[in-house]
């Protein structure tokens, strides 16, 4: 009883934050339907939605299309890239998360015909749908960085933790050498929208901390380079990060976009103000530009006037429903909404799409809305983090106002990221959180 009790108290906060209030989830009798629902993508969003829909619908024909057999717990990649978790920590089996009664087609989508309401795969299969949910995630455009390819990761001081578990582990191999030997560390981010905009900062903080603990702070020249003019999209958070960087002695190079690296010479090229600038490094963390998969643009699902180089799906910010094709929804990274390319966003988006989809099947209007909520447990060193939660309007929306301060470096926030987040994520995948 003793231990269970104290852990309950210790961890209730953690699980609670990540499970913070979302749209209602009333237990009602399943809706009978013969609707054909196709979900493109069996990642966090597709899987969570499928698990919820099978409980809400009776008789629906649900098909998920995703070529990948490994499910990735992507929030764990920053931990892998700092040597805090092994690569296997983020990998599980896609099939293991899917509910009974749905069909999983392990193929790549080639095109969507929104007029004929069909999805075709690269192998030539064609599926008719009544409702389509587009949640394939995004594409990391590594080729956009001249002179860089993924085989380089882990050698010559090159890291790229977004690329997956193996690359995150290799990133740690390169980053740990830097933390031991010192030199100049360049931590970059892309000009496009990106998954978890906090991750480049976390990686910077963690590698700085690891070097510091090894007694090498004096030998490390830490530089954070970004195309944006602010360190974070939410102004109050950007200002806090600026103060922390000043405290840690991390220099910044703003308004600079990484365009090329020369791995042999360990030299990075940045685009700046119409010109270029070269910076020598001993370690560089590369995060490439990020875009929607090609079929999204080619199938005419993308915004025509926003993010035209990136191709995110044209959806309503509140309902995630396609603005021109009401039978199509988008979830997760591919959704064309500001912010929100995190698992926390997915957690809040999925019940909204579920609500509108089930309501539409019943012939009524859904009521749930998504306010842009996202959360970022911003690790500022091993053992401390800031639990930053915000919405579309850049308001901070803390789950525990007055108890867990969002802009304070706290141990309890670290506990949430390190131990409570993954089980909460898993519960979300099962549609239970």
């Amino acid at each position: 009883m003793n231990r269970r009790k104290f852990l309950n108290i210790a961890m209730a906060g953690g699980a609670a934050a990540a499970l913070a209030p979302g749209p209602g989830d009333a237990q009602v009798a399943p809706v009978e339907t013969s609707a054909r629902i196709v979900i493109i993508g069996a990642g966090a969003a597709g899987t969570a939605l499928a698990n919820r829909l099978v409980r809400r619908l009776d008789g629906a024909e649900i098909t998920l299309i995703d070529p990948r057999h490994d499910h990735l717990y992507q929030p764990g990649l920053t931990l892998v890239a700092a040597g805090l978790k092994p690569a296997g920590y983020v990998v599980s089996d896609t099939a293991g998360w899917l509910p009974e009664g749905v069909t999983w087609l392990p193929e790549r989508v080639a095109a969507v015909d929104a007029e004929a309401r069909t999805v075709s795969t690269e192998s030539g299969q064609r599926l008719d749908y009544d409702w389509l949910v587009v949640a394939p995630g995004l594409v990391l455009d590594h080729d956009a960085i001249e002179g860089f390819n993924l085989d380089m990761v882990g050698q010559d001081g090159i890291g790229a933790l977004y690329a997956g578990p193996e690359h995150a582990a290799r990133t740690w191999a390169a980053a740990s050498r830097f933390a031991e030997e010192g030199g100049t560390g360049l931590f970059t981010r892309p000009a496009t929208e990106m998954k978890c905009a906090g991750a480049p900062l976390k990686h910077t903080f963690l590698i700085d901390d690891i070097g510091r603990r090894a007694g090498n702070a004096g030998r490390m020249n830490m530089i954070y380079a970004a195309p944006q003019s602010a360190l974070f999209g939410v102004p109050i958070v950007a200002e806090k990060v600026r103060m922390l960087f000043e405290d840690r002695g991390v220099e910044t190079m703003m308004n600079r976009t990484l365009t090329a690296i020369d791995a042999g010479a360990r030299r990075a090229t940045f685009a700046v103000d119409g010109g270029t600038e070269e910076v020598d490094y001993d370690y560089i963390h590369v995060i490439p530009p990020q875009r929607a998969p090609d079929f999204v643009v080619q199938s005419g699902l993308a915004w025509a006037d926003r993010w035209t180089d990136q191709g995110w799906v044209e959806v309503d910010m509140q309902t995630l429903r396609h603005l021109r094709h009401p039978e199509i929804f988008a979830l997760g990274d591919v959704a064309g909404v500001p912010k929100g390319k995190t698992a926390a966003s997915v957690k809040w988006q999925v019940p909204v799409v579920e609500d509108h989809l089930v309501a539409a099947i019943e012939g009524r209007e859904g009521t749930a809305t998504y306010n842009g909520y996202t959360s970022c447990p911003m690790i500022t060193r091993i053992g401390r983090a800031m639990l930053i939660e915000f919405d579309y309007r850049n308001n901070l929306v803390p789950s525990f106002p007055g108890i867990i301060a969002p802009l304070e470096e706290l141990w309890i926030s670290w506990l949430m990221k390190e131990v409570a987040l993954k089980p909460t994520y898993n519960a979300m995948l099962r549609g239970r959180a």
Binding site: R3, F6, A405, P423
Partner: protein, 123 residues
């Protein structure tokens, strides 16, 4: 919070300690609690003699609990960053202390020492 189910909480703890260690700890806690209830029922009284050693062991329990959580979560005391962290730490220490007291009391009551079973010589 949408749902804070037992399932989720269990999953959180399994994640922290690993599945086997977590269930081993649950079993240990259940066993000690049962033992405690058993000796209370058997003796039909709380023995203050037994509680002396139990109380003396409380600081040790507090320290052990804090050390255990810190080690399991790669944390250090210097990570305490605000009031909520202090409260959490004190909570862990308090529960560790109470847990240790119950453990020591139960073990002493079950196995017994000369001090508590003999009755005469309190030293």
């Amino acid at each position: 919070m949408q749902e804070l189910t037992h399932e989720t909480m269990t999953a959180v703890f399994e994640e922290i300690f690993g599945r086997s260690l977590f269930w081993l700890m649950v079993a240990a806690v259940a066993l000690i609690t049962l033992g405690y209830i058993y000796v209370l029922v058997r003796d039909r009284a709380v023995s203050w003699r037994k509680f002396l050693l139990a109380q003396l062991s409380m600081p040790l329990g507090a320290v052990l609990a804090v050390w255990f959580v810190m080690a399991m979560t790669r944390s250090r005391l210097s990570d305490i960053g605000g009031p909520v962290d202090v409260m959490l730490l004190l909570g862990i220490a308090a529960l560790g202390a109470v847990g240790m007291a119950i453990l020591v009391y139960t073990v002493e009551a079950l196995i017994g020492s000369r001090r508590t079973t003999g009755g005469g010589d309190v030293r």
